[in-house]
Symmetry: D2
Subunit: 348 residues, 4 copies
């Protein structure tokens, strides 16, 4: 079994998830070396996993154990590191988002394309076995024509204000996942209408100009409608579930329980709920790095390209604009992201 050694940059929350997966759960991708700007963190990880470590990203790129790189650093470093990796001839896996602004996102996608390396962005849901199975049945035509798409992504509680300030806003940070899934399962979008509310902490969210609850309505080029609901204050737990209603069948992807048993007490039966994305997706993060490694080894297309990331980002921007203006935003897929469309374009 051919494997690919990956140099992992960044050892924060997502970086550690990737490191654990590369060290112990992936089957094709392997942990080759680690980088973190903080020498304590970098050394500790190097020792824990028994791999070379460095505090210089250039050194990581140059290390023979980094046959490809995975970038899980703070958001601001995603784009420059991706570009540096690509220019060094390394295939790159990068956590989402590529950047918080469109110009940088576009420039990064173009730079990577010019360098001719593989580039995959971290939309993990496409690699979860349940989602992948449904996508395959939709591709096979078992669902028929899609009439309605419905998706929920909800967090149990808000992250700290410091995180929110640098998150790019609710639509770019959270909704973007459902927008990627919408394109993946149903196709391109022609209209975005977004509604937001700050329910859990009205003052706090107003202070950063953001919301904790949103409903986004999509109209697809096919004529189908879509609706996404998102929350940072679901209270009960993490939720990620989707329904696709078609002319021949309807698929509903569950939000699983945390454990596979029920507990009965007088008059009541209860089940544990998953608390966060780690509990919800025990397999998807390992699978996305294995998928990346396979694409690199086989020179086959990655399953989430930079162009996919750009398209989802553009839809998130449209949602943000719709929320701010109170108007539907008409969009047109150009092959490289979305352009604004006039309403007559949509109707035509």
């Amino acid at each position: 079994m051919s494997t690919l050694r990956i140099g992992l940059a960044g050892l924060g929350r997502m970086g550690r998830i990737h490191a654990d997966n590369l060290a112990g759960r992936c089957s094709v991708a392997r942990l080759g070396a680690v980088y973190d700007a903080d020498p304590t963190v970098a050394r500790e990880a190097g020792e824990r996993y028994g791999v070379p470590w460095t505090t210089s990203f250039e050194e990581l790129l140059a290390h023979p154990a980094a046959e490809a790189v995975a970038i899980a650093t703070p958001t601001g470093a995603h784009a420059p590191m991706t570009v540096a990796g690509a220019q060094a001839g390394r295939d790159v896996f990068c956590e989402k988002p590529i950047a918080l602004d469109r110009a940088t996102t576009v420039a990064t996608v173009e730079e990577v394309r010019r360098a001719g390396v593989q580039f995959q962005v971290g939309f993990h849901r496409r690699f979860d076995p349940d989602w992948a199975a449904v996508a395959e049945r939709i591709r096979a035509g078992e669902l028929g024509e899609v009439a309605l798409f419905r998706s929920s992504l909800r967090d149990m509680a808000s992250p700290p204000a410091s995180f929110l300030a640098g998150s790019g806003g609710f639509f770019r940070d959270v909704t973007v996942h459902d927008l990627d899934v919408a394109r993946w399962l149903v196709g391109e979008v022609v209209e975005v209408t977004a509604h937001g509310a700050a329910v859990s902490d009205p003052e706090g969210f107003a202070a950063v100009g953001d919301v904790d609850t949103a409903v986004v309505v999509l109209r697809f080029a096919s004529g189908a409608l879509g609706v996404i609901d998102n929350s940072r204050a679901s209270g009960y737990g993490y939720e990620c579930s989707t329904e696709v209603m078609g002319s021949r069948a309807t698929a509903r992807i569950d939000n699983p329980y945390r454990r596979g048993y029920e507990w009965r007490t007088p008059g009541l039966t209860s089940r544990d709920l998953v608390a966060d994305f780690q509990e919800r997706y025990p397999l998807a993060y390992a699978a996305e790095l294995d998928g990346f490694a396979r694409a690199v080894l086989d020179r086959s297309p990655v399953q989430v390209s930079g162009e996919d990331a750009l398209a989802a980002f553009d839809l998130a921007e449209a949602a943000d604009e719709s929320w701010r203006t109170g108007r539907t935003v008409a969009v047109r897929y150009t092959g490289t992201g979305y352009a604004r469309a006039s309403v007559s374009e949509v109707s035509a």
Copy 2:
């Protein structure tokens, strides 16, 4: 046990459901007499249930066995019969909608109020044991502040074009049920944004200027968001389910299976789905007439008043307008239905 004999007007699909319930499932309400314009239908029902029958609504109103009346005639007759019943001093249960236009609806509500009789409109969902139980827990504060309301109402297949033409349109005919539930469980609405599509039969629906799929977004006075999805082409079966997400708890009302067993074959387990509202609501229609009868006997308030019906109708009209104009419609509850509000009113 005190009972109330009801004169039932109209023996079409809904009329027969009510007749069966009054004859055999209600515990307080009883079938007193039946009216239908078609003498064959009226006689047959009279003989089947062993009650007096007539082809004259005036006769029904005058009959001593019609201590109150229930109106399940074609829509156009709802308002005049309600008014006639009220003027004859009869308490009135009337199927929804009161009328397909606002003026008639308002006039009917006013006429009934003037007559001082009890008046209940047929939003059956409020009487289903599951919905009623959730409503009670919300009223008791167990759910906390509501952040998100989500509701689906879907039919398996479209009714014939002839029905659609006289239905008042998708929002007034279908969405109105979810709009009533939204007000009942969450409170008054300040904004309505609707999106529609004709997916199952684009030409057919275009011909009658209607849609078969809709997504309606609500903003509540409390700041909460709501989203309703409706379909006349769900394919798999009938669906009526609702979620209310609050700060302390989240309630999800299921769409039940048709039968309480699963059937396992190699690699697959399957369950029957309910096909229509009759299978979905085996108890609610009987309970609403019992609720009406109890309110009449106790002189207590009915659980769905003419004012409630008017408010739901007004929200359906706002949805229809929003769909046609592509704009959010701001509304303001006046105590007797909704008025249009300017956007600044909403923001204030």
Copy 3:
């Protein structure tokens, strides 16, 4: 719609359930008259339901409003009243058990047969829509050859000792229901092995020579195995569920939740459980009286005959004997109940 007026004898717990159903939920069977030995109870019921009442069972039998009789009196009166009813030419519905001893049970069944009237015994589960649907699919051959039958009947908490003393013991009082279902769904039995324990109150149950927990293993004539578990101390609620595993399919009849919604709080989702047989079977008791009324009106066979009741009783006796002796009891169906078989008969 032809209906049958039934004279109801006995207005205890089961009697009141039947009275309510006959008065308000049955569609063919109607409450014709009531009898109870206690004049206060009888009068109150007569007035509540608006039917004639009496404290003399002879009077009930003679009353024209008692076209047939339903017997829900204390167990000791079941057999003599059934016989009296049959001799008076009345078709009889009788609550289970016919009697607590075999001789009386056999004599009653014979007496009724001699009188040539219809006789149905109260095994309600056969009339529940879920069970009836599964039975029909098994009859149609969809399940293939049965390999394993599994059934649970559990009560939340033990009845008072006074009830236990007159109950005939756990196997005759509780297990008998599962034994009837086993015969109905799978066929005749050739071996019974029973195990019992008194877990909730060892001294109390020892004092009456009874158990609160039992496991009964069946071997069917077809070669299939069956297992029944019963409890009077399930703690969490009432349970009645069954699985039939066949060569072509496996059916599992659920124990339903009390309400059709889930309630989510941090980390947990919960559902209400049914507490007793009344919540578990909202429809079956009404359906069994309608089934009886239809059989009487159509002169078609009843769905649970006296012979069925005798067979289930005999299997319960075999279970009781097996539990007391610690040995498997071999049985042979004779057409009128079960006889003891020698082991060689079984093997042959």
Copy 4:
């Protein structure tokens, strides 16, 4: 993170599962070297996983990369290899069963104890997260006194006759898993009564003196009852589910669906079922080797000892005897397996 390199002996079906887990999913245990008697198989695995390979078990034991050994060879080699490993001072993980006869099992357990090494046997269910979570809650007293234990283990279809002949029989091969779980979750057993049937292929199973369907009833020392049902011909799929009913709560461990989505078509919703133990237990086999590695590294007790394996084997023998004789077998736990008890011992 300290890791343990394991020398894996045997590369059949179970061996490959362990090899994949050690190579890619375990976090503490690592694949150190592989042995198989077949040089093609051994070399192929060595090359696939990049570890040393050998066709000599002595060489494996001597290799420094085999810090401990895991034995997944054909059953007949389990005991001698375990003994050889222990005598070489290696901690040993061995697939179940240790042997097909009691003398060898006892001798092996004693030999290992004498050698003073760690010894874990492959009852994987104890390492599944769902089962482990329930066990922990039972240990913590949340369930109260156990009244009833119920467990199902079912295979979709029978293995070939050649496998059956060397399997030790249904009770030693299949039921033994549920017997281990019974001891683990509830405690020691005092009576075993077993019933068997050959339903799928009566002649085939008669030829090897075995059954494909069994029901085993247990009486625990605590007074609780237990019931196990097993099948080699479930038809619909693999099943492994357990219920423990206690005085304070009841736990039900599910048999999960294969995928986390439902697929709705007209009138029907369906879900995929798991087909075999690999789909049912994606995590347990990796977790059991990690558990073994942790016990070795920490010198803490293993979670399934040789004594546990012997006790489960003894209960399986008692079940086999009970099935063959048609009588209940009374047993007594001795600290090292079970001895036969007289009935008076049980009652005392």
